[in-house]
Structure formats: structure tokens, C-alpha cells
């Protein structure tokens, strides 16, 4: 065993009460970091999954119509004009098949789904409900918005005049699988659809308003034959949505909107949450650093004479510094083992103890090996940084002074 490591271990063993206490303190710090990170990232993943569960990462639409003034200025003459914004007509994307084919090949795009959507009423007896009618290509749609896994009953629409509806709408209208429902689009066209599936997307508004139907039926009802109203995109990294949106806008000439633009407030909230969590972790690391440093500074003072004798016996300044740096690293390693165990244990207990009425964890924790490894490395790095000052002090001790010291 290297002599410096041997000495570091012996010094730690000799001051086992101090070493134990400071390792426990490092462990607490690591546990807080592990627990807090697991909690915050779990919450954020859950929130994002809920938000993105019913929303495409990027949406392509036809640009809005811009009003054009009929008169233009000629020469030095000034023309006074007043331009009124026109009411937007329901105009779809024509030639969407070519657009989809070109996007399918684009880098950073995972799935593409053309949809047609518009306002409609569902009529049953004397009750009418306002809904959002969405015509989809079932397979493509499922790869962007995962409806099949959210189905409570039945199956996803396949063709013809089938419909999959939200669970709240089904309850409100007393619909079940096989029920017929009459859908009347805002344009006046109406169709009798058959319920083949009931889904729960985890969002009350969606469950109350969504009616999914095959694309062709949707196009007919919404008077958009041959066109789609938007193209939904899913990408592997949701946080690259803005970049991908800009890229797709350039490629297709369509107007793009990313989920990050639609949910700017949510993102701000998530960022604030991450910042406050980072702040807490930084202060935890700082206090752990100061804790280790103070223990080692005291140890240098206590071992002044012993450091002197080591120098007299031929230890170099670097060797002496190494002994204290290694002590810092060892305390960090010991603390990280305690902390990862404690943090993971706390997170597991919390997940199991706090359950919602369905028996699902109220707050999902995201514990992964990377987090634990990072927390451990942070603890070890903290130990090394904290040991730097005491190590330097020990190395600088004058051996003659140190030996004289009583």
C-alpha cells in the first residue's frame, strides 16, 4: 500500500469519532442531494409526461392569411391606407403527403402524424356537447400521442366511421362501446359515428372534449377533403423542440409551433424549480466542504509534531500534502456510500409511503445510477477540494518548528 494512503487510513482510524461524525455529515449532504434530485426530476418528468402526453412536440400549420392593401405608394406620393385583419378561414395543408414524406427523412424527427381537427357538437337525445373532432391516421397518431396505452375500453379507431372518445364525454353522454353518436361539425356536416374505444388521457379537458376518428371521416365532416389542418411531430429530445421547429419551418415553409412555446409558463416554472434545487444543493455542498476542511485543519494542528517527525524521516512536502488530500477523498468516499444508501432509502420509503387513492405513488421519484454516481463523485470531489487548504498547511510546516511544538 502506498505510504501516504497507509498514513491517511491510520489517521482516519485514529480519529474515528471525528471521522465518523464528518462522514455522517457528508452522508447527510449526499442523501439530501440524491433525495432532492430524485424528487425534483421525478416531479418534472411526471409533469412533462402529463403535458406531452396529449401534445405534439412540434406542430406544423399553414401560415395565417395576411391582409394585402389594395393601394400601394407610387413615387413620392403618400397613400393613406387602413388595413383590417381578415377573419381566418379554415384552410388546410394541401399536398401534405409530400410534406410528410420530406419530414419523415429529416434528422431529429421520430414520428410524424397528419391530423385534421375542428370544433363540432356531439348530439345524443336532447343533450349536445361541444367537442374537438380530430381525424387521424391511427398508426401515425399513436406514435406521436400514445392513445392505445390509455384506452380504458375497446380499441383505437381503424377506419370507416369509428370514434374513440374521452372517458368523461362517455360518462356525460352515457356512451359505451358500440354506442352511436351523432357528430355535427361547425360547418354543418353531420355523421353518425360508432364508439369503438374509450380513453383516459389523464387530462380532464381532453377526456371531456376529444373525439378521435379516422382521417378520412374527419376530413369529410370538417369539410377539408384532401387536406389536413396540422402535422404533429414527435422528436427524441423534447427540449430540442424549438430548434427542430425552426428547421422544419425552413424546410416546409409552414408555420411551426413547439410545445415549449405553447407551455412557456410551465417551462419557466420548471426552470425556477431546478434553480432552487440547484441552489439548495450548492449550499449543501458548501457546508459539507467547510465541514471536511475544518476537521482536517484541526487534524493538521493536532498532528503538527507527527508531521514534523515524518518530514524529519524523509517525507517530502508533497507526500505530507498527499496524506491529507487522501484523507479528504476517503472521507468523501465514506460519506458518499452512506449518503447514496440513505438518499436512495429515503426516496424509496417516500415513494412507497405516499400513495394516491389508486395505490400509485403520489410523487414519482426518479432514482437512477447516473444520479447516484454523480452524487458520489461530487462528494469525493468535495472531499478533495476541502482537503486542499489543510494539505497545503501541513506541507508548509517547517519540520524544526513542528517538532519543537508542544
Amino acid at each position: 500500500m502506498p505510504t501516504a494512503l497507509f498514513m491517511a487510513l491510520q489517521f482516519i482510524r485514529e480519529g474515528r469519532t471525528q471521522s465518523g461524525l464528518i462522514s455522517a455529515a457528508v452522508g447527510m449532504g449526499v442523501a439530501v442531494i440524491v433525495f432532492l434530485s430524485a424528487l425534483i426530476s421525478g416531479l418534472q418528468e411526471d409533469l412533462l409526461a402529463k403535458t406531452l402526453g396529449t401534445q405534439a412536440h412540434v406542430t406544423l400549420r399553414r401560415p395565417e392569411e395576411q391582409p394585402r392593401p389594395l393601394w400601394a405608394s407610387v413615387g413620392s406620393a403618400t397613400t393613406l391606407t387602413r388595413t383590417e385583419q381578415t377573419a381566418q378561414r379554415q384552410r388546410g395543408i394541401t399536398g401534405w403527403q409530400q410534406t410528410i414524406a420530406s419530414i419523415d427523412r429529416a434528422d431529429g424527427v421520430e414520428a410524424v402524424s397528419p391530423i385534421v381537427s375542428g370544433a363540432a357538437f356531439v348530439l345524443r337525445g336532447s343533450v349536445s356537447k361541444s367537442v374537438n373532432l380530430i381525424g387521424v391516421q391511427p398508426e401515425r397518431y399513436a406514435s406521436v400521442i400514445d392513445v392505445p396505452s390509455r384506452l380504458l375500453q375497446g380499441r383505437m379507431v381503424q377506419g370507416g366511421t369509428e370514434a374513440a372518445i374521452g372517458v368523461t364525454l362517455a360518462e356525460d353522454l352515457g356512451l359505451e362501446l358500440g354506442s352511436k353518436l351523432r357528430v355535427q361539425a361547425a360547418g354543418g356536416r353531420a355523421e353518425l359515428l360508432t364508439v369503438v374505444g374509450v380513453f383516459d388521457m389523464g387530462n380532464k379537458d381532453v377526456n371531456r372534449r376529444w373525439v378521435l376518428t379516422p382521417l378520412r371521416a374527419g376530413q369529410t365532416l370538417l369539410d377539408q377533403v384532401g387536406a389536413v389542418s396540422q402535422i404533429d411531430i414527435r422528436i427524441p429530445d423534447p427540449f430540442a423542440a424549438n430548434t427542430v421547429a425552426v428547421m422544419l419551418a425552413g424546410r416546409t415553409g409552414l408555420e411551426t409551433e413547439s410545445w415549449m412555446q405553447t407551455n412557456a409558463q410551465l417551462l419557466t416554472a420548471l426552470r425556477s424549480q431546478s434553480s432552487s434545487s440547484t441552489m439548495i444543493q450548492v449550499f449543501v455542498i458548501l457546508s459539507v466542504t467547510i465541514g471536511i476542511a475544518s476537521v482536517l485543519v484541526v487534524s493538521v494542528v493536532q498532528k503538527r509534531r507527527q508531521i514534523g517527525i515524518l518530514r524529519a524521516m524523509g517525507s517530502s512536502r508533497a507526500e505530507i500534502a498527499k496524506i491529507f488530500v487522501l484523507q479528504g477523498a476517503l472521507l468523501g468516499i465514506l460519506g458518499s456510500v452512506i449518503g447514496v444508501g440513505l438518499g436512495a432509502g429515503m426516496a424509496t420509503v417516500f415513494t412507497r409511503a405516499a400513495l394516491d387513492p389508486q395505490g400509485q405513488p403520489l410523487i414519482p421519484m426518479s432514482l437512477d445510477a447516473e444520479l447516484m454516481l454523480t452524487a458520489s463523485l461530487v462528494a469525493i470531489a468535495t472531499g478533495l477540494v476541502a482537503a486542499a487548504l489543510p494539505a497545503l498547511r501541513a506541507a508548509r510546516l517547517d519540520p524544526a518548528d513542528a517538532i519543537r511544538h508542544e
Binding site: F6, M7, E14, I309, A312, S315, S316
Partner: protein, 249 residues
């Protein structure tokens, strides 16, 4: 005549920057291999300062310090540390053992420092060293569980483990009762003769000083006189007859 183990010429040592205090005023001193020298003098005469300079723990302000023929005043810190590790052994009044280590670990520590590794194979040499000072059976004992005399014996075993040509002992018996002090002194004397190790012993005890080959008396930072110890011859004869330490402990 063989080369001296240590040779000091015109050593001056001053402390302080604004107010300069001269502690040593041109000390000349040489110690030959195997020689047992007592360094005596009243408190404040510069004995400890001189011992620190002999031990390369401190640098003289002026003058030359040659260890085994090598001039050391111009060496950098790392080179001085290396010479110190190779050529010098230290025994102090308060033993200065490492309390975290066992007796045998303390003894082999200088070897571990020199090699950069504490190897299991060193243990045998440590136990042998302890055997030479009569403590083989206490090899794995914590230092704190040994008596003052035993601790000083461990310190001697540690100082000798690398067979250095020069041993520097700063009042090694100062903290011990008369009988134990006598025991430790005899041990030092015997080891010095057996292994031809020169020894510079700082002491306040005139009786001990007279048992050394030569007495160097420092007064106010100057060598006041140098003379042979009156009981040196008898002591040498006794050391030759002395039984191994382990038989006495």
C-alpha cells in the same frame, strides 16, 4: 583518517528580520564514524539550533555543513529531505512516535517513506529492529500502551532501522527516570558501537556526558571547549560486555 560523518565549518545562525538575533557564532564541529559525542551547554546556548542544523531541519545563515562529505547548504528542499532520509536518524526527548501506528509500524515507517510503499515484507525488519531493543513481543502493541522507556526504545529502533551513519539524539533520556534513562543510554551506546553509528547526544546530564567519547560544550552559541569524556573508556568496555537488551527487559 576516515571521512567525517558530519563536518561543520564556521556555522552562523541568525533569527529575525528587523531585530536580528545571532544564536550560533561560527561553530566548527566534526564527528567521525562510530564516535559518540555529547553536546552540552546551558539553556539558550544554541544546542537545539545546532542539532537542527546537523539534522538538516534548518539551514545555517552562513557556513558549511557537509554530511558524508557532501555539502548540503546549497541543496534544495527535496535534496535535503533525501539526504535526511538516507543518512540521519533522530531520537527526541518526547519520542515523537506516530500514535496512530503500532510499535512495528512506527519502526518500519522510515523504510516505507523511502520506498513509497508500506510493504508487508518490511514487517520482518521491523520485528528484528524491535528485537534488538528488546521489544519483539510488543510489536503489535499500540504506542500509547507502552511505557515511557519502551516508547523511547521503539524510537531508537525506528531511528536505526535504516542503519544511518549518524544518529541525532535530543535529550533522549530527559523524560525518563534514572534507571530507565541509564537503560536507554546503554542501548544507544551499544548500538552505536555494534553498527559503527556516530551519535550526537544533546544532554543536560553531566553524568551521561562524561560517559561519551567526546564532550562539546556550547556557551552563548560558541564552542567553549571540547574534551574527552572521563568515563568513556570504562563505558566502551561496559558496552562491549553489555548483554543484548532483550535479555534485560
Amino acid at each position: 583518517m576516515s571521512e567525517p560523518v558530519i563536518d561543520l565549518t564556521g556555522v552562523i545562525k541568525e533569527f529575525g528580520k528587523d531585530v536580528v538575533t545571532r544564536v550560533l557564532h561560527g561553530v566548527d564541529m566534526r564527528v567521525d564514524p562510530g564516535e559518540f559525542v555529547a553536546l552540552v551547554g546551558p539553556s539558550g546556548s544554541g544546542k537545539s539550533t545546532l542539532l537542527n542544523i546537523l539534522g538538516l531541519l534548518d539551514r545555517p545563515t552562513e557556513g558549511s555543513v557537509r554530511v558524508m562529505g557532501r555539502e548540503t547548504t546549497e541543496l534544495d528542499e527535496a535534496e535535503r529531505t533525501a539526504v535526511r532520509g538516507d543518512a540521519l536518524g533522530f531520537v527526541f526527548q518526547f519520542h515523537h512516535l506516530i500514535s496512530a501506528l503500532s510499535a512495528v509500524q512506527n519502526v518500519i515507517l522510515p523504510l516505507g517513506i523511502a520506498r513509497g510503499r508500506m510493504q508487508a515484507s518490511l514487517r520482518e525488519r521491523g520485528v528484528k529492529g524491535l528485537d534488538e531493543v528488546g521489544l519483539a513481543d510488543r510489536a503489535d502493541e499500540r504506542i500509547t500502551r507502552l511505557s515511557g522507556g519502551q516508547q523511547q526504545r521503539v524510537a531508537i529502533a525506528r531511528a536505526l532501522v535504516k542503519r544511518p551513519p549518524l544518529l541525532l539524539a535530543d535529550e533522549p533520556t530527559g523524560n525518563l527516570d534514572t534507571e530507565t534513562a541509564d537503560d536507554v543510554f546503554r542501548l544507544l551506546r551499544r548500538k552505536s558501537r555494534e553498527q559503527n553509528i556516530a551519535c550526537v547526544l544533546v544532554t543536560h546530564d553531566p553524568g551521561l556526558a562524561e560517559r561519551c567519547d567526546r564532550i562539546i560544550r556550547l556557551v552563548d552559541g560558541r564552542v567553549a571547549d571540547v574534551r574527552p569524556g572521563q568515563r568513556a573508556a570504562a563505558e566502551r568496555a561496559e558496552a562491549d560486555r553489555d548483554p543484548p537488551a532483550d535479555e534485560r527487559s
